[in-house]
């Protein structure tokens, strides 16, 4: 990891500062009795000056839209709210790599979209690597690269457009096509000449309106 050997015990803290993990169950990640203290926990462990810690906590809570809950007790928040606090706690560490282990599973659709937009922005603007572990195929479709594991081995790997061209292999892995890809497949089977690999709602809407325009006399 960034030249550090993860087997090297003394390097463990350096590794953890670079790779932030947000887990499936937010209850296991919240450590403090007040939201803002929870978010400050990581930066404090890094030994940052108090002003810097405060700035990072503010920013992280703003990104996950939990600023108004800063004085609340984390364990009394709803499931989705807790998860946003946990994500803020990691963001405040300014990691190089953010690993989300089903971290969006408990969020409402908009909360989920906000987290996905946030991590997309962190990836684009801050150059943070994102590893998003998910059972939601429409979320996997947003990645640049998909890796599928089975029984401890990598069994499929490639850009979403390639991976989602293999419905049979996906079925064997107990996976599925994202809804848009499944619709595309059904439309093609019925003879609709859709080109390319639409994987998102926007891409498919563009492809279909393109077809409709070409059809007009």
């Amino acid at each position: 990891m960034d030249g550090l050997d993860t087997r090297d015990q003394p390097a463990v803290w350096q590794v953890r500062q670079r790779v932030g993990m947000v887990f499936q169950n937010p209850d296991n990640q919240l450590v403090a009795t007040v939201v803002e203290e929870d978010v400050a926990f990581g930066p404090e462990n890094l030994g940052l000056p108090p002003a810097e810690i405060r700035r990072r906590v503010e920013e992280a809570l703003r990104v996950v839209e939990m600023g108004e809950y800063r004085h609340h007790a984390p364990h009394l928040l709803s499931g989705g709210q807790k998860q946003r606090v946990a994500i803020a706690g990691i963001l405040a560490m300014r990691p190089m790599c953010l690993i989300l282990d089903e971290a969006t599973a408990m969020l409402d659709p908009q909360g989920r979209a906000e987290v996905l937009q946030t991590v997309a922005r962190l990836n684009r603007e801050e150059d943070i690597t994102i590893v998003h572990i998910t059972h939601a195929m429409e979320e996997a479709a947003l990645a640049r690269r998909i890796i599928a594991l089975a029984a401890g081995r990598i069994v499929l790997e490639g850009p979403p457009a390639e991976v989602f061209e293999q419905p049979e292999a996906l079925r064997r892995l107990r996976l599925a096509l994202p809804p848009v890809a499944a619709l595309v497949r059904g439309l093609r089977a019925a003879g609709l000449p859709l080109r390319g690999h639409p994987l998102t709602v926007d891409q498919l809407v563009d492809a279909l309106t393109g077809l409709a325009a070409a059809r007009r006399p």
């Binding site: 928040l77 059972h135 709602v201 809407v205």
Partner: protein, 283 residues
């Protein structure tokens, strides 16, 4: 039938951290309905369903099950919990017995049923959830896959012979096939046992596939309540509530906004496919 009348609930009342979770909920839930309960994070879904089986006593208002006020001083709340069963989110975390059969037997045993009746119920419940009782009964729950453990937890609930089955995000964390299988199972149980099903779920696609009525909560109030098809036709309102609509329905709405004459009150994959083909049928 469940009747909820003007239920309010405040957590940690009289403390600086008081949180108002429910603000005047009134609902009628007839027997045998398949209901989707949706709403943004923190809107009160989990709180509301816990008042339906008397796990939470609301600050004010009444809940009655089959005509009986479940918070009346003499009410038999154990019987209410048997009638109205709640499968918690990540329910497999609550498995604790050394075998699957013992875990499923836990509820019926607490009801004080005779041993042979308990054995019959365990057998039937495991069969209902698609787990072979002879093969899975003696196994430790902790050697099962996530999806199998979730089924064991559901079997434990079914062994109580409930009339109403409430599921709080039952497919969270399952793989896509596990999710599809679990939802099929719920539909089958609904048909076989004439259960009332109340499903809390953040996936609008799953709600669309499994329910006939949708209740939308926002900030502790019911803000929409109606047939699933009509609710998902109100895309803008749902988006305003942070909820959105199934992806297939999104596609139809956007196509319509771009001038294609497609219907927007459809949402299953098959309906969307047929509708797009109707309008764009290959020459």
């Amino acid at each position: 039938m469940i009747e909820v009348r003007d239920v309010h609930h405040v957590y940690l009342r009289d403390s600086p951290l008081a949180a108002v979770a429910l603000r005047g909920i009134s609902l009628t839930i007839p027997d045998g309905e398949r209901i989707g309960l949706i709403g943004p994070t923190g809107s009160g879904k989990s709180t509301l369903v816990q008042t339906l089986n008397a796990l939470i006593r609301p600050t004010s208002g009444t809940v009655s099950v089959d005509g009986e006020d479940i918070f009346a001083p003499k009410a038999d709340r154990r019987r209410v919990r048997q009638k109205v069963a709640l499968l918690f989110q990540y329910a497999e975390q609550q498995l604790f017995e050394e075998t699957v059969a013992k875990d499923v037997a836990f509820g019926p045993r607490n009801l004080g049923l005779p041993e042979d009746e308990i054995a019959t119920r365990v057998h039937e419940a495991l069969q209902s959830v698609g787990l072979d009782p002879d093969r899975f009964g003696p196994r430790s729950p902790f050697t099962l896959s996530g999806g199998e453990m979730r089924r064991v937890a559901l079997a434990g609930v079914l062994a109580m012979s409930p009339k109403v089955l409430i599921l709080d995000e039952p497919t969270a964390g399952l793989d896509p096939q596990g999710k599809a299988e679990f939802l099929q199972l719920i539909l089958r149980l609904h048909a076989q046992r004439q259960l009332t099903v109340i499903l809390i779920n953040h996936s609008m696609d799953e709600i669309a596939q499994t329910t006939e009525r949708v209740i939308v909560l926002d900030a502790g109030r019911v803000v929409m309540d109606g047939p699933t098809r009509q609710i998902f036709a109100r895309a803008e309102e749902l988006e305003h509530l942070h909820l959105g609509i199934p992806q297939t329905a999104q596609i139809l709405h956007r196509l319509r906004a771009r001038g294609l004459p497609v219907r927007t009150d459809l949402f299953t994959l098959e309906e969307a496919r047929a509708e797009v083909l109707r309008v764009l049928r290959p020459a």
